[in-house]
């Protein structure tokens, strides 16, 4: 019951955060010079004042700020994010088309980064001053300090242009036909490089954190007891120390969702991955306000849901955490 209560509190709080994001974004776009009527007029090679006024009235841009804001939030509550100005397509549909690709990339990259990071961290913690440890540190440094889009381009040059293992861009080949597995392998061949690139930033963080946590755990009394009662080193590390060293890593991973989304925007641009990032880029260039607002809303939603899931995962790993956090 206690757990349920705190969970509901957190969900309500997350909803408030989302609402605040909506208000901030809408106000920003309202404050900015120029609006979509100008852009439309421009794309038609100019329009006279009456036509611009008509377009403004059409999109409700002539209403006072508070009314525009209120009607916008009211619509978002019904998941109606408005229409894509240029193609008159529903923004919600457009985003929902693109969201799965981004989610696939983001989730798999996080999972891969967590897995590799913890693995490397645990290995290097066994011998903190050994050669493997230094190698891991070096690898991690590269991933963390190289600009992610540059890492992506280097991988692209290496594994798509020189050795043609993976595809250069996109998510699917149009020409391919066949059963589920044919399509599955096709998507995998597109996915590997973007996934590796995006996770490269976070492997560094997670391996460092899990290395520190593991070194700390290996010094504690219960590990000494476990070794004294005759357990093998492997059993001690995998069954006892790992569980306890996981929770700081998961806490850290939960704080990274916003950074993962940011990284995804760049990675998607490099690999032309048909996700929210490329859509955001296109709509920002086109000054397509409803789409930009919609993408910010949905990506914040992803971050908030990610944080909630992290909380749940932490409770699973470490049952000592109870009640409100």
């Amino acid at each position: 019951m206690n757990f349920l209560q705190s969970f509901i509190t957190r969900v309500l709080y997350a909803a408030t955060l989302l609402l605040a994001v909506l208000v901030l974004n809408f106000s920003l776009i309202h404050l900015a010079p120029g609006d979509v009527a100008d852009t439309i007029a421009q794309s038609r090679g100019g329009a006279d004042a009456t036509l611009i006024a008509e377009i403004r009235a059409d999109y409700g841009l002539d209403q006072p700020y508070i009314i525009q804001l209120g009607s916008y939030i009211g619509k978002v509550m019904q998941l109606n994010l408005g229409y894509w100005y240029f193609y008159n397509e529903s923004v919600t549909d457009l985003i929902l088309q693109r969201l799965p690709a981004t989610l696939l990339l983001v989730v798999l990259a996080q999972v891969l980064a967590l897995f590799l990071g913890v693995l490397l961290g645990v290995i290097s913690a066994q011998n903190p001053n050994g050669l493997t440890s230094h190698f891991v540190t070096f690898l991690a440094l590269f991933g963390y300090f190289a600009p992610v889009f540059w890492t992506g381009i280097l991988l692209l040059i290496g594994f798509s242009l020189n050795i043609q293992w993976f595809h250069v861009a996109g998510m699917r080949e149009v020409t391919i036909s066949g059963g589920f597995w044919v399509h599955f392998i096709d998507v995998v061949r597109h996915l590997v490089l973007p996934m590796l690139t995006l996770s490269s930033i976070f492997i560094a963080l997670y391996s460092r954190q899990s290395r520190t946590a593991m070194i700390h755990e290996l010094k504690s009394d219960y590990v000494r007891t476990a070794i004294a009662k005759g357990l093998s080193q492997r059993a001690v590390v995998c069954r006892h120390a790992l569980k306890n060293s996981l929770s700081p890593v998961i806490t850290l991973a939960g704080l990274q969702f916003s950074a993962v989304i940011s990284g995804a925007v760049l990675v998607e641009t490099v690999f032309s991955w048909p996700g929210l990032g490329t859509l955001a880029f296109q709509s920002i260039i086109a000054r397509d306000t409803p789409t930009i607002l919609g993408i910010l809303f949905f990506s914040t939603l992803v971050v908030v849901v990610g944080n909630l899931l992290t909380d749940l995962a932490l409770r699973l790993v470490n049952p000592r955490i109870k009640g409100t956090t």
Partner: protein, 302 residues
């Protein structure tokens, strides 16, 4: 260091003088510890070289990075261009040297801005508990769930891609870590005896905050500041890679972004600016590491 036993021939006063001469100014002591970290010193030398390049390079190598100076795709070293030319026949070395200015300037300015916001918010939240802290913490959490790069893209796209605007766009979204660190330090220090004493003797709040508590909270903030500069440079590179930058100012990320389509013909046009970003950010972070060891000597022994 073991305390040496007092010399029986000296009066206590003389012994006191001798130890006094041994204790150095804290800054000198920190500098001494910094110098023991050879990697950090090497990184500091590297960073200084890059900054000097950024300041004096454009006068010493006055080729305009936007000028077409030779045939396109001339490979590095051939035809007298050390790093070759790009798809438009522009000198890449010139782009790297001139681009250092924008990248480093924005990196430092944005980091300065986010530290200013972060320290102010963190100090207020850690000093005034209760309602003010609650509100400020909610604001911090709000900025933590905001997808940073997307939000800065929106700011830059809406308010124009000038260098000051890019700086603001980066600074506004990246201050939360500084605020959290500052708040934690304030919460720890505000309970210490000397702060109590100062408060009891009637020191005003703003003086307590910025003159009494802040100087003792500075060490972790300085270390975080070094990290912020690095991540701001990466952030700027990302924005300019996407083309959201002042088109009349060359920067490293912009060079990568504009040459991206030609990696089949000339991969070196993308490699060189990336190495520049990597080396700069790496040296800044290693200097930060050295500062951490120098300013928090106790942490190192843990």
């Amino acid at each position: 260091m073991t305390p040496f036993p007092p010399n029986p021939d000296q009066t206590p006063q003389q012994a006191q003088n001798k130890t006094d001469r041994k204790t150095r100014h804290p800054t000198a002591e920190a500098w001494g510890r910094f110098c023991q970290n050879h990697a950090a010193v090497a990184a500091l030398v590297m960073l200084t070289t890059i900054i000097i390049c950024a300041i004096f390079g454009p006068t010493l190598y006055p080729i305009d990075p936007f000028d077409m100076v030779w045939a396109p795709f001339s490979p590095p070293g051939k035809d007298g261009f050390l790093l070759g030319t790009d798809y438009f026949g522009r000198d890449l070395l010139a782009a790297l040297i001139h681009g250092a200015r924008a990248s480093i300037l924005i990196g430092f300015a944005a980091a300065f801005m986010s530290i200013f916001i972060g320290v102010t918010v963190g100090a207020l939240a850690g000093f005034y508990l209760g309602l003010i802290e609650e509100i400020l913490m909610r604001i911090i959490e709000f900025f933590q769930v905001l997808p940073t790069l997307l939000f800065s893209m929106v700011i830059v796209a809406l308010f124009g891609a000038s260098l000051p605007m890019i700086t603001v766009a980066i600074g506004v979204v990246s201050w939360t870590a500084v605020a959290r660190i500052t708040r934690a330090e304030f919460l720890r220090i505000r309970e210490l005896g000397y702060v109590m004493a100062s408060r009891a003797s009637g020191t005003r709040n703003h003086r307590l905050m910025f003159r009494v508590i802040l100087p003792n909270a500075l060490a972790p903030i300085i270390v975080q500041a070094a990290l912020m500069v690095g991540s701001a440079i990466l952030f700027e590179a990302g924005l300019s890679f996407l083309g959201l930058t002042d088109p009349n100012v060359v920067s490293w990320g912009q060079v990568i972004g504009s040459n991206r389509q030609y990696i089949l013909d000339a991969s070196y046009t993308v490699t060189a600016p990336g190495v520049a970003i990597f080396v700069t950010v790496l040296s800044i972070s290693m200097v930060g590491d050295g500062l951490n060891d120098a300013l928090n000597p106790k942490l190192r022994q843990r």
